[in-house]
Every structure is written in C-alpha cells, then in structure tokens.
Amino acid sequence: MVEVVGLSKRFGRRQVLRELTLCFPPGRLTVLVGPNGAGKTTLLKCLVDLVRPQQGSVLLDGLAVGSDPRLRRRIGYVSQLPRFPEQLSAAQVIELLAALRASAPVRRDEVLDTLGLESEIHRPLSQLSGGTRKKVSAALALIFDPEILVMDEPTAGLDPRSALRLKDWLRAERGHGKTVILASHLVSELEELSDRIVFLMDGAVWFDGAAAELRARSGEQNLERALARLVEERIAAALAEPSTTAPIAAAKTAPWPRSAGMAGR
C-alpha cells in the first residue's frame, strides 16, 4: 500500500503540491491527470524520493520511502524524459541497474520480447530514437518485477503496437495485485486502463474516482469533455474567489469526494 500523507512541495515561490493526501492500494491502476504544471510529475517523483517535499511523507506499507533506500527495490519508475548514460547500451544499463539493485533482472527476456527491444539492446543509447528510448525506460522499470510501478506518461512517443503491448502488460500487472500509478494526457489510456482517475490542478486533488463517476458528475459521456469541465469549474471557482489560496485550501481538505457532485465547489 502506497500512502501520500499531507504532501506539500514548493519550488521557489511556486507551490506545486498542496497537502496532498492519497492512497494507492495494491491491485489498482490509478491514472493521474491534469493540465500541464498541475503537479503530476512532482507527485510521481515524490513517490520515488527523487523530489523531497517540504511537508508530509510518502509511506510504503507504513514506512517512509525516504527513510530507507532499500524500499525503492519494490518500485519501478519510468521518467517523463528518458535519460541514460548515453555511452552505454541498454544491455549495459541493465547490468548497471542489476549491480545497483543487487538483484538479477528476473523478467528480462520476457519484457524485451514484449516491447520488441531485442535488436536494439546492444546499440548505444545515444543512437536510439525517442520512442525506443521510452521503451527502454519502461523495460528498465519492468524487468526487475517490482510490486509498484510509477510511470510518467509511459506510452508517450511509442508506436501503437508497442503502446498496446505495454498497456496489456500493465493490465496484467494490476491483475497480479500490483500497484500501478501513472500520469497521462491520453484520454484513451484513461478509458482503457484506469480503475481510478485522480485529477490534479494547482497541486490539489479536484477529482478522485472512476471514469464512470466522472462522466456521471459532469454529465458528459466524452471523457475529454468531462475533464475539460473540471478545468472550467476550477477556473470559475478561482475567479469567483480571487484569493486563490481559499478555494485551493478547501479543495485539499475536501477533494471532490466520491459522493459529491462536480458542482460541489
């Protein structure tokens, strides 16, 4: 169980996360959505201790993720922009990570086959295309068979076949009881994958529930339109109450409870 408790993060004068409290149970696939700059990537980075919050904590089965680096053995992470030691090949990076994790990549061949990476595995990463680099990034997160997957736009830049295969893989992982948390801008991913949608805006949760609930509350069958409605509601709330901290503070304490309607603000 991954828990986010009262998480706040500020970069300079910009408040990116505002006392977020969320819970990610095993066997569920949660998709974080929201406009650019909503705090999705920062939240995902906090989950793997790449970004350290000013307040609050991320707990993994009750233990703070930042307290013991060994807890990250249980997490596989895909960054938004895949960056590697460029002079190495994917095979060498796998060896490096195996050395850092002190464990063998138990699903190496299976993952490489699924993502169609066998022919690219020995080429220097600097020579790979953007999409292939993204596939390598996903492969590096999956081959160690972690129980929690934290992925920032994992299918962005992938060809349709690879994206489909990766989504199938993630569905299967969820079926095996793993926790999958991913950020996405793709409505198709919300439709196909999500058990739960968490809509972030201005660093606060504005909707937390299933796609069906979002449709029902917004009165929009099209998920993209339903999300757009959320954004409009948020903007309208901010305009109605120019002191922007007030609606945000309210949102963080009552983040669109499942029983509430969209007009709750």
Binding site: F11, K45, V48, D49, L50, V51, R52, P69, R70, L71, R72, R73, I75, Y77, S79, R83, F84, P85, Q87, L88, V93, L96, L97, A99, L100, R101, A102, S137, L140
Partner: protein, 259 residues
Amino acid sequence: MIPMLQLVLRDLWRSRWPAAYGLFLLATSEALFAFGENRAQAVASLLTVTVLVVPTMTLALGVSQCFDWRYCAELLLAQPVRRGAIFAGQYVGLTLVLSLSFVFGVGLPFLWMGLGSRAAAQALAVLLAAGILLTLVFGALALLLGTASEQRLPALGRAFSLALFLCVVYDGILLAAATGLADYRLEKPLLALALLNPVDAARLLVLLKLDVAALTGYTGAVMQQFFGAGAQSVALLPLALWVAVPAALAYRAYQRRDF
C-alpha cells in the same frame, strides 16, 4: 558506490578531457625540463603551473561533468541505492581520474629523465602530493558548485571566477596589503590569510620542501621562521579542511537536491 564509480570512470575516459589535461601537463613538464637548469628549478616552475592549472581544470571539468551526470540521476536515484553512494562515486571518480592525469603529466618526465638527487625526488613527491590535494579540494568545490546550481553556464562562470580569485586575485590583495602596510608588523595576519587560501597553502607546502622558502616571499619566510620543521604539517591542515568542508557541503546539497 562501486557501480557508480565504474560509470563515472567510463564516462570520464570517453570524454577525453582528462587525457588532454594529462598530455598538456606532460608537454609543459618536458618544456620546463628542457629549459630549466636542474630538477629543483623544474619543480619550482612546475609548481607555478600546478597552482594555476589544477584548480582551473578541476573546477571546469568537475562542474561540467556534474551537469552531465545529473541527466541520468533520475534513473540511478530511483534504484535502491543511497544518494551518498552516488555522490561518493562521482567525487572519487572525478578526483581519481584527474589525480592520475596529473601524476602522469608531471611525474612521467621525472621518471624517464631521472629523479636526480634525493632532495629533488622528495620535492617531486611533495609537488605530486600538493597537486593531488588541490585536485581533492577543487573537485569538492566543483561538485558543490555543480550541485547547488540549476544551469551549467552560470555554474561554469562561478567556477572560473572562483579559480581566478583564489589563484590570482587573492595573492594580489595580500601583496597590496603587505606593500601598503609595510611599516606595520603584519607577518602573522598575512601568514594566516595565506593559509586560508588552499592554493597558497599548497604552494607553501612545496616551497618549504624545496628549501627556498625565503624566495617565496614574505609568507614563506615567516612560516619557516615560525614553524621550522613543522611548517609543512601546518600547511597541510588548511588543505585538509579545504577538502573536508566543501565535500561535506556538496554532500549535504546533493542529499537535499530535487532531481
């Protein structure tokens, strides 16, 4: 730390800058041998080169590499490994490679041209030790500047400014103070101020071994007079602090940094 160290060593090896640095020092050493009268004079001349080139090169390469390594930090720090181990791998790798380049460039000519007298051999050993200590000092400062900065160019600008200040401007200020206040007894304060600068501390360390402290000017002569045979140990202390304090600050900054 070992996997990270291997990655850093491989990265530096491929960058070719450490090799260029070593070859530059080798060519300079050869030239100074060719034009110098004896080994001691060559060591004294190499000292001047060392205290200018080692800080500048270590800062420039260290800051630059720090930004290169930051690009893949997300991948590495998402693994079950302590940040301290990643940081230590970077620091040890950087200073190890640059120290080897320095020893190669400065030490090799002595090997094939002969060490000469025992005193010259000792002076060379102290020169090599001073160069390695300067590498450790400025390697730590480079990682501190690189870790604390968001952008490469401003960080490099700060690195060059720091090198210029410690290698050139600081001595100029001391010289101006000594000249302007010649009527006062300022030996102790000037000595203390000189030892505060790692470049001066390294310079004194070598010159005291060359037994030409009086020629080093004011601070060298005063130091020899004050501390006698223990003068080198006194010069080592600030150098050790200049390694420990920036390294600790850089480590702290790395621990707190968001990636």
